[in-house]
Amino acid sequence: MTSYIVRRLLWGVLLLIMVIFVTFLVYFLLPSTDPAILRAGRDASPSVIAAIRRDLGLNHSIIVQFWNYLTGIVFHLNFGYSYYYNDPVGGLILNRLPATLSLTVGAAILWVIVGIPIGIISAIKRRTFLDRASMGIALVFVSAPVFWLGLIALFLLANDIGRFHVFLGSGSYVGLTTNPWRWFQSLILPWMVLSATQCAIYARLVRGSLLQVMGEDYIRTARAKGLPERTVILKHGMRSAVGPLVTVLGLDIASLLGGAILTETVFSIPGIGRLQIDAIGHGDLTIIQGTVVIAAIFIIIANILVDIAYAFLDPRVRYE
């Protein structure tokens, strides 16, 4: 097991270097503006642009710039410099991480505690009205774009522009340490919106997995032994059904930590997603690079954790 984890970690590092290389290449290949010009602004003279290019190290060859970028990340956690914000990218990402973390973790808890029970009920009440209704609603939420869902939620339930003034609206987010109660209130609506789609996906996933598992021989044996149905489902059925769920959950959380762009934009939550979308709008490629690398780090770590979790959840899985 230990050698497997070490092997996975080494592959993860290699993968990360490849991601950094690709995002770095994109920097040069995309039809975007010279960063020195972005920094210098309109009407800047060529000598000023040249001086800025020297200061930012943009006068070196691509290989040297990549090496500087890579060693900057590895040894100094230096993700480069934002030409738009005039700030180091690492600091900007770190500054936005708490908001994204708050949004993602809260939403994940919500979609797990709502989605899984709906999936279980739907599976055990198969072909009943309850099953059809919950799967129908799930289909609606799976199909609904988050951006649209967010706007609808605000126009219906926000305390400023909503039809019914129930929850705090867009732009109300404050940090957890600033005001915990307001932090919680401001995230209720975003959590609901972000988890709605995921909740629907998880409910359908659990239903499908559970239906498949419930037809297995060992479930029939468990029932024949007289175990209560609750134990059969939760202890024997769900233990097997939860495998694919863990895979998806890990990756979903990791990718959202890389930035829930649409939800953060609609609800004006200053997280990594909004940092990304603003950077795209301003052609600030160092931020785009930084956030992509951070997202890749989250996904690689999540992948490794999921693989390890598998070994604990499924006795059949053994890593040599």
Partner: protein
């Protein structure tokens, strides 16, 4: 699946598709462009509005989906930055918000004195303006001199130093140190010695943030960093407001959180007797980020707030129909035009350019942009409100045939193609037109309209719509890219002098290989000579007439196709008495805005 079930499924799917198609048809028939019709109610314009008699006190919330670029007066060159800069700092001169043509002394104690045949400018400043904490002392002209000198420091890299301050003696070789042509004989007098008689231009440029005083002892250590940290992490202020700061003047993380918010509070060292701005509000909270769609609704339905960025068409329409008194359409002091490559390919031919000018449906381009609420069809380059506008034809513009048909005239266009050597009235050569537009907003639609004009004249066109910054930085502003046409380049005047509108985008010798703002590479010797003559013309009226002549020549040569004089729609809450600065794209002036 059995046959009856399959048939039922097909019928069901068919019915759903029919319903969807019917719904789309209905929705399409109901959708209308925002306020594009001729029956538009006259919008409030902001011109001539009463600036005073506001109620003192209160906190204004500003919703802004975009962040600032620079909060350092040496770097600031963006509408949103200007809103904060001009509320927190005092330049030597400034326009009042309802007047974009007459400069008023701000830090200066009176008008600038021009002498030596337009080669010397003397300015006296008020003696009792103080910096905010921790500097606290009175502002001197040495602070103004340093503010301008640091503009040449590569760590500050002021974007307009060369075109507007470049004629000061010694400025051409300046890198941030003292400039010999800036002299401060005492603490309230500053004298500028120029290499050319361009005093009028310099005086106008003294209304830009570069003339806002900066204390050297405080800023120099910050300016030594690459890039400067003055205005990024800390700063001192002279205006009625300041970014909320700690005792050291640090505002980063306190009064400004990038991408999150900014807080303007009263400057404790501001003396109302030194300033003509009333500064009614106690505090301005600027919320950065969010969806423009949501922000607009929050402002219209809420209180104490304004939307800083351009509202969406939906919200403009909502405001127009349901919150009319909360909608203001302000002349925007800018324009957009089609840049045509005057230096490369078929568009070097003046008659081909005239043909395209005549063929282009400029009215449709304005309609696509949002209609009359966002602008009017442009007929020349000097914008409404600037000196020389009336002399160069006013709204009608120069009277040339290709300028008289806003919706395009193909027959007329073909007559110019014939004059260009294409007897059929259509292009028969092999050049493929390279057209680069913006993929933001309605950019692709503008590109399509321009493409239609080209194809109507027989051209093959290759269209690439890219991000706006790439459009300028990688294509339209790069000479070697040899782009034939850019449909949506825009120019915002820096001040009411027409030189700030025409010089950079059309003066041949100002062309640079990259970051070029003369997008059409216009380098006509007669136009260049006329510009030099106009720049050296002393006296406002004579200067305006000289620049109007340049404007006329640009249209005569069809060097580019102006298509919209911008108007800025703004929305505010019902209890806000918003004042918009005509000179700054019609954006909010926090030092005049108040709550009802």
């Amino acid at each position: 699946m059995s046959t009856p079930i399959r048939r039922r499924a097909i019928v069901a799917v068919g019915a759903m598709l029919a319903i969807a198609a019917a719904w789309f048809a209905f929705a399409a028939s109901q959708s209308t462009s925002t306020a594009t019709g001729a029956s538009l109610k006259p919008a409030l314009t902001g011109a001539g509005e009463n600036l005073y008699n506001g109620k003192k006190g209160g906190t204004l919330t500003v919703y802004d989906s975009e962040d600032f670029l620079h909060l350092d007066p040496g770097e600031s060159y963006f509408v949103l930055d200007y809103e904060v800069m001009f509320a927190t700092q005092m330049p030597l001169f400034e326009y009042k918000p309802n007047n974009s043509t007459t400069l008023s002394p701000m830090l200066a104690s009176g008008p600038a004195v021009i002498s030596n045949g337009g080669k010397t400018v003397t300015v006296h400043i008020k003696p009792n303006v103080h910096f905010s904490p921790p500097v606290n002392r009175a502002v001197t002209t040495a602070d103004v001199a340093y503010a301008i000198e640091r503009g040449a420091n590569p760590n500050v890299a002021n974007p307009y130093f060369a075109p507007y301050f470049g004629d000061i003696v010694g400025a051409a070789k300046a890198t941030g140190g003292p400039i010999s042509g800036i002299v401060t004989p005492n603490s309230t007098t500053i004298i500028f010695h120029l290499t050319a008689p361009t005093a009028d231009l310099l005086v106008n440029a003294l209304s830009l943030p570069l003339s806002m005083p900066v204390p050297k002892s405080y800023a120099a250590p910050l300016d030594a960093k690459k890039p400067t940290q003055y205005g990024t992490s800390q700063e001192v202020f002279t205006g009625p407001y300041m970014l909320k700061s700690d005792a050291t003047g640090k505002f980063l993380g306190i009064g400004y959180n990038p991408g999150k918010n900014a807080i303007l509070v009263r400057n404790p060292n501001w003396n109302p007797s030194t300033d003509w701005q009333p500064a009614y509000l106690n505090q301005i909270n600027i919320n950065i980020g969010g969806s423009s769609e949501v922000i607009g609704q929050q402002v219209l339905k809420g209180s104490d707030s304004v939307q800083n960025d351009t509202p969406t068409n939906t919200n403009v329409e909502l405001a127009y129909t349901s919150y009319y008194n909360q909608l203001v359409a302000v002349p925007g002091s800018g324009d957009h035009y089609v840049a045509l490559n005057n230096a490369h390919g078929i568009l070097k031919n003046v008659n081909v350019r005239r043909a395209l000018y005549a063929a282009l449906d400029r009215a449709e381009m304005v309609k696509v942009a949002g209609g009359t609420i966002v602008g009017q069809v442009a007929t020349h380059f000097i914008t409404p409100g600037a000196a020389g506008y009336a002399q160069s034809g006013g709204d009608a513009g120069p009277k040339v045939p290709w300028n008289e048909h806003p919706s395009g005239d193909l027959a007329l266009a073909q007559s110019y193609m014939k004059a260009a050597g294409y007897p059929s009235g259509k292009y028969t050569g092999s050049q493929v037109i390279k057209l680069v537009g913006s993929n933001n907003g309605n950019g692709p639609e503008q590109s399509a309209i321009l493409k239609n004009a080209f194809t109507a004249l027989g051209f093959n066109v290759h269209v690439a719509n890219v991000d706006q910054s790439a459009m300028y930085g990688k294509y339209c502003g790069v000479v070697a890219a040899e782009i034939d046409a850019c449909p949506e380049v825009g120019w915002q005047r820096d001040f009411a002098d027409p030189q700030s509108i025409l010089y950079v985008p059309f003066y041949g010798p100002a062309i640079v290989p990259t970051n070029n703002s003369n997008w059409g590479q216009v380098n006509d010797p007669a136009i260049n000579a006329a510009m030099v003559k106009a720049a050296d013309t002393v006296g406002s009226a004579a200067s305006a007439a000289a620049w109007a002549k340049v404007d006329d020549m640009l249209v005569q040569q069809a060097v580019a196709i102006p298509w919209i004089f911008d108007t800025q729609p703004n929305i505010e809450s019902a209890n806000v008495r918003g004042i918009n600065a005509l000179w700054n794209v019609g954006s909010w002036d926090y030092a005049f805005t108040s709550l009802k």
